[in-house]
C-alpha cells in the first residue's frame, strides 16, 4: 500500500482521525504541529479531508492556492505549500470540493503522489482527516505510517472511535493505534477511556483477526477541558501561540515531546 522507502530520509506520516467530527481533531493537528515545530521538527499538515476541510478556518488562513489547484494542474505543489502561524507548513484542500469527497482513481493517485513528493522535505507529515469515515479518509490513513485516533469522553465519540479502530484493524491490518483523549474533565479519565476501548478491542476485534495478533492501543496523552481552547478557537489562533501556559496547551506540548523523543 505504501511506496517503497526512498534513499533520502523521509517524513514519518501520521494520520489523525476520529470517526465523529467535533472532537477537536483539526485543533489538535494544528497545535501538535506547532508543538513539534518548536521542538525543531519540519512539520507539514495536510488537509486530507478533501471534501469538508476546515484547517484553513482553524488557522485563519485564506489560501489562494489549494490542493484542488494542484490536482487540476493549475498550480505546482510548491505554490500550494503555505507557511502556517505556528512555524509549520500546511497543504490545504479548500472547502466544498464535493467532487473530492469521493475517492476516484484520480484522487487516489494524486494523494499518493503528493505525499511521496513532500515526504523528503519534512520530518513529519500530519494527515488531518475528515469527520466520519469515507473512502477518502480510509485511503489517506492507508498512506500513513501511524494512525492516531482522537476521542472525547462522550459516548458517541467513544463509539465512533471504537468503530474506527475496528475498521483500521480489520481492513488495514493496523496492530498499533495511538490514542489521544480530548476534553477530559478529571485527570486520568483519558487513561480509563483508553483501557475501556482496549478491553472491547481485546474481546471483539482481536478474535476476528486471522493472523492471531493483537491490537494495541497506545496512549499518547489526554487534553483537559480548558476554556483557553475555546478562546483560541474563537479567535482562530493557535492555542500554543495565544495561551501557551494553559493546561490544554501544556498537554499538547507534552504529547509532542513524547512523540518527538
Amino acid at each position: 500500500m505504501k511506496a517503497a522507502a526512498a534513499v533520502a530520509p523521509k517524513a514519518t506520516v501520521l494520520a489523525v482521525t476520529s470517526g465523529k467530527g467535533g472532537v477537536g481533531k483539526t485543533f489538535f493537528s494544528a497545535n501538535l504541529a506547532a508543538a513539534l515545530a518548536r521542538l525543531g521538527e519540519r512539520v507539514l499538515v495536510l488537509d486530507a479531508d478533501l471534501g469538508l476541510a476546515n484547517l484553513d478556518v482553524v488557522l485563519n488562513l485564506h489560501p489562494k492556492i489549494t490542493l484542488h489547484d494542484v490536482f487540476t494542474g493549475k498550480a505546482s505543489l510548491d505554490e500550494a505549500i503555505l507557511p502556517a502561524p505556528g512555524g509549520f507548513s500546511v497543504l490545504l484542500a479548500g472547502s466544498g470540493l464535493v467532487e473530492y469527497s469521493r475517492l476516484t482513481p484520480h484522487v487516489r493517485e494524486q494523494l499518493v503522489e503528493i505525499i511521496d513528493r513532500v515526504a523528503p522535505r519534512f520530518d513529519r507529515i500530519l494527515l488531518d482527516t475528515g469527520a466520519g469515515i469515507s473512502d477518502v479518509v480510509l485511503h489517506a490513513i492507508s498512506l500513513a505510517d501511524d494512525v492516531l485516533v482522537i476521542a472525547t469522553p462522550e459516548p458517541t465519540s467513544m463509539t465512533d472511535a471504537y468503530a474506527t479502530i475496528k475498521l483500521l484493524a480489520t481492513q488495514q491490518g493496523r496492530r498499533a493505534i495511538r490514542i489521544v483523549v480530548n476534553q477530559v474533565s478529571v485527570a486520568g479519565e483519558g487513561r480509563t477511556i483508553r483501557n475501556q476501548l482496549q478491553l472491547v478491542v481485546d474481546r471483539f476485534v482481536t478474535p476476528r483477526l486471522d493472523d492471531g495478533s493483537a491490537v494495541a492501543l497506545e496512549m499518547q496523552g489526554e487534553i483537559p477541558t480548558d476554556p483557553a481552547v475555546r478562546e483560541a478557537v474563537q479567535r482562530r489562533t493557535l492555542l500554543l501561540d495565544r495561551l501557551p501556559g494553559s493546561r490544554a496547551a501544556l498537554a499538547v506540548a507534552a504529547i509532542a515531546a513524547r512523540m518527538a523523543a
Binding site: 469515515i133 459516548p155 463509539t159 471483539f204 476476528r208
Partner: protein, 240 residues
C-alpha cells in the same frame, strides 16, 4: 407557466417518427392518441426513458441504469447503514459457446441467463447486463451473513438449467461470481464498489471458475454487545 399548446400542435411540430418507431420496434404499446397532448407526449417520453434503461437483447437493466441505481444505493448505505451487496457475474468460457454454436446461440444463452438471474432475486433487487457476457446484481439490505448463500444460489441455479439452443440441442453454462458489500456508514463511490466486486470475480475465475467469491465485509458496525462492554462498567454508567 407553460404556454398553452393547441391540440396536436406540439406533436405535429416535433420530429417524433423515430421515437415512435423505436417504441414500436421494442414492443412498447404506443400511447393512446385520444389522451391529452401533454399526457400523450409524457407517455412517449416515459417509454423512451424506459427503453434507454433496458438492455436491448436481454431486457434487463442496462449499464446506465445499473450505475444510476448503484450511485443511489451507495448514498443510502452511507446514510442508513443498511448492508448492500453487489455481485458481478460472468459466464464461463462464453467464447466457446459462440465458437461452437454460433452467435445466435450465444444470444440465446445470454437471454436464458438473464431469465435465470432474474428468477434468483427479490423484486427490490436490480439485475443488469453490465456488458458482453458480464452481468451485475445490486441487492439492497442484504446482510453479510447471507451474501455467500445468495451468490451460491445464483451460481447453482444457472448451472442446473440446460439452455435449449436448437430443436434438439442444449448447452449448460456455468458462471463465476464476485461480490462485495458496500461499507456501511462509509461515504464510498460506486466505482470502487464495482472494482472490489470485480477483484472477487477475478479471484473466482482464477480459482477455477463456476464459483462465487465474496470480499470480507468491512466491519464498522458497533453491536449492542460491544456498546454494552464499552459503557457497561460503573465508571461509565453516568455517561449512558
Amino acid at each position: 407557466m407553460r404556454p398553452k399548446i393547441e391540440p396536436n400542435f406540439a406533436a405535429a411540430a416535433l420530429q417524433l417518427d423515430g421515437a415512435l418507431l423505436l417504441l414500436q420496434q421494442s414492443g412498447h404499446a404506443l400511447p393512446d392518441r385520444a389522451r391529452s397532448e401533454d399526457a400523450w407526449l409524457q407517455a412517449v417520453i416515459d417509454g423512451l426513458c424506459e427503453l434507454s434503461s433496458r438492455d436491448a437483447l436481454t431486457g434487463l437493466a442496462n449499464r446506465r441504469h445499473f450505475e444510476l441505481t448503484l450511485a443511489s444505493e451507495v448514498d443510502r448505505v452511507a446514510r442508513a447503514g443498511e448492508p448492500a451487496l453487489v455481485l458481478m457475474i460472468d459466464i464461463d468460457h462464453f467464447k466457446r459457446v459462440n465458437d461452437a454454436h454460433g452467435h445466435q446461440s450465444g444470444d440465446l444463452v445470454l437471454k436464458a441467463i438473464a431469465v435465470a438471474l432474474s428468477e434468483c432475486v427479490r423484486p427490490m433487487d436490480t439485475v443488469a447486463r453490465f456488458g458482453g457476457e458480464e452481468f451485475a446484481m445490486i441487492l439492497p439490505n442484504c446482510p453479510p451473513s447471507y451474501g455467500l448463500a445468495v451468490a451460491e444460489r445464483v451460481r447453482a441455479h444457472v448451472g442446473a438449467h440446460p439452455i435449449p439452443i436448437g430443436a434438439a440441442e442444449e448447452v449448460t453454462v456455468t458462471v463465476s461470481i464476485g461480490g462485495a458489500f458496500a461499507p456501511q456508514w462509509v461515504r464510498s463511490s460506486p466505482l470502487l464498489w464495482v472494482e472490489r466486486a470485480d477483484q472477487q470475480l477475478y479471484r473466482a475465475k482464477s480459482e477455477g471458475r463456476n464459483r462465487a467469491c465474496l470480499e470480507e465485509p468491512m466491519v464498522s458496525h458497533v453491536s449492542a454487545e460491544e456498546k454494552g462492554l464499552l459503557f457497561g462498567t460503573s465508571t461509565f454508567a453516568e455517561l449512558g
